[in-house]
Subunit: 350 residues, 2 copies
């Protein structure tokens, strides 16, 4: 036993608050609520919440507290990216066991702030309380021009479907952490790529400057939206793939009341995945693995080609929207046969 390891119950609530407040802007915390700047003129507020529970969403076996912090922030920022919104700040609601080392909490906040710092986003408030189960509840706020909001419900016939990056890598990384022997055929770079995909996913906020340049979205916009409206409807719909690629496509199609055809051969496979497991399992991870935090976007082909080129490796057009009712995964090679993708096959919480 390390003698210097102090526990939460040793330092009490006030001691713990002092530690976590170091990770927040000093001029914002310390009141009943945080006062933060409003969205820019003409923009709307975007709000998203995620709850992560120890043993359900993360585990000490595969995730350090630093990575739990990083991932929990990345999941929320990914939801903002999926709305086309840029982040303003987050709040953190923590339930902690009193026998946790204080260093666990410090590492959690280090992971959260390291991820947040990449996007200049502060922790503006939160709450901490005692519980037998560690639970992390994050609410993220962002801003978006109403006209340029990315929604699930506006996909339409004629759109192609694109992904911003690889799917299945996060699940592969998790399996490597649970069963290191699985990775014996991989070199160090290949192994690290998959593990990082699981431990340090990157929210695809990098699409925002691309969209901004393509649509001439102004930084500040006059209150009247006339020239936005004259530009016609915003042609991009979509969501993030936190619950899996198949789930995202099926959710978008359900919300938009359309169907889709996905070409299996067009879906980019993470490098080295085929060396790990059988093709059947590879596809299970790619379609249903989840937590890759990529975006699935429906949009005109020309715009998709622009984004694919700018985003680079892993980004690809994988199919198109139809006026049908099903999401069909087509296999031109004939190896797997055609398959219908549904929402219920993905991760279900209950």
């Amino acid at each position: 036993m390390k003698v210097e390891e102090s526990l939460i119950k040793d330092i009490g609530e006030q001691g713990l608050l002092k530690i976590v407040q170091r990770f927040c802007p000093q001029d914002i915390i310390g009141d009943d609520g945080a006062v933060i700047p409003s969205p820019d003129a003409g923009k709307s507020l975007v709000v998203t919440t995620d709850v992560l529970v120890d043993g359900v969403h993360f585990s000490d076996r595969t995730t350090t507290p630093y990575d739990v912090g990083w991932r929990s922030v990345a999941a929320n920022l990914s939801d903002l990216a999926a709305m086309g919104a840029s982040p303003l700040g987050i709040t953190v609601g923590l339930s902690l066991r009193s026998d946790l080392p204080v260093s666990w909490v410090e590492k959690l906040y280090q992971g959260m702030t390291q991820c947040l710092d990449r996007y200049n986003t502060p922790i503006v408030g939160g709450d901490i309380c005692r519980s037998p189960i560690i639970t992390i509840s994050i609410t993220a706020f962002g801003q978006v021009f109403p006209h340029y909001t990315i929604r699930r419900s506006t996909a339409k016939v004629g759109d192609v479907i694109m992904v911003t990056g690889f799917h299945g890598a996060s699940r592969a990384g998790l399996e490597l952490l649970l069963n290191p022997a699985l990775g014996k055929s991989l070199n160090e770079a290949e192994r690290l790529f998959l593990i990082q995909a699981h431990q340090r996913p990157k929210p695809r906020l990098d699409i925002l400057p691309l969209l901004k340049s393509k649509f001439n979205i102004p930084i500040w916009h006059p209150l009247e939206h006339s020239d936005m409206a004259s530009a016609g409807p915003f042609p991009i719909s979509g969501m993030d793939s936190s619950d899996g690629l198949a789930d995202a496509i099926a959710q978008i199609c359900r919300a938009s009341k359309v169907g889709a055809i996905i070409e299996r051969s067009q879906i980019p496979l993470p490098p080295s995945l085929n060396q790990l497991v059988s093709p059947q399992e590879v596809w299970d991870w790619v379609l249903y693995g989840g937590e890759d935090f990529e975006l699935v976007l429906c949009l005109p082909n020309e715009l998709a080609q622009f984004l694919v080129q700018e985003l680079g490796e892993g980004a690809a057009v994988i199919g198109y929207i139809t006026d049908g009712e099903e999401v069909l995964l087509r296999d031109s090679s004939g190896v797997f046969g055609d398959e219908i993708l549904t929402i219920t096959r993905g991760f279900q919480h209950f």
Copy 2:
């Protein structure tokens, strides 16, 4: 066993989502995040988060799911009131056991929305996941003119200290629920008053229209703040008393680097409290009971008298700010002797 009682695990995540989404505005939910209107021009965004854990903050013995919902919302709206902010919306992060009856969740949301409806505030989003421990994490957003924000750190010598209502009533209500025999000397109205104080606390958002009228705070304000600045600094500081009256006074004094003298005889006692327990215990509940969700405000005496008169029963000036370092509870009657109030005696989570 009631045969019609369906459980969360029977209806699954999608079924559960359908039920809770009934309690949300239909045009706002269903995307990765909620898009909600920004604060009015010139106002800042105020954000506050609370986490409630089963067995720590609430219990089936004393609180129905309806009341858990009501209280969790009231606690967050109280934090907004304590900032001088009016509510815009809340998000709800829920961790639930899969063996909970579906009706438990419905009653929880009924309680939340009944409280929210009093203040025209919607549930704009959330997340639900499985956990062995029920945990409710609420984030509330509000808006306030920066100039008219109520802070903890600006109390000053010359201010009086006022409370917006009774303290100790919530704790008395809890004790009555735990031990009904305790209330045998009370009539039904007295008993109900105390129990309601515990189960259905009211956030003191009713001070906002009073402040608005007194300070001519405009509904909409031009972007330049010139005439606000010319009005001089906003003379009100304070916080809510969720962790107890003594804690609130001590927190304000610490943040403002001032002391205070409180007159014990000026603190209003909830009716019938003296019939329940010994004077010593009465004072313990009043000072340290917590969860009354009143406001403790520091302000010029004239303004305090105006608010006390408007707010009615339970509101009172109870002391004043000093240039000392201590919060002294003075007892002119000599029965209890003087006492120093500190932060650490109140409710500590760890």
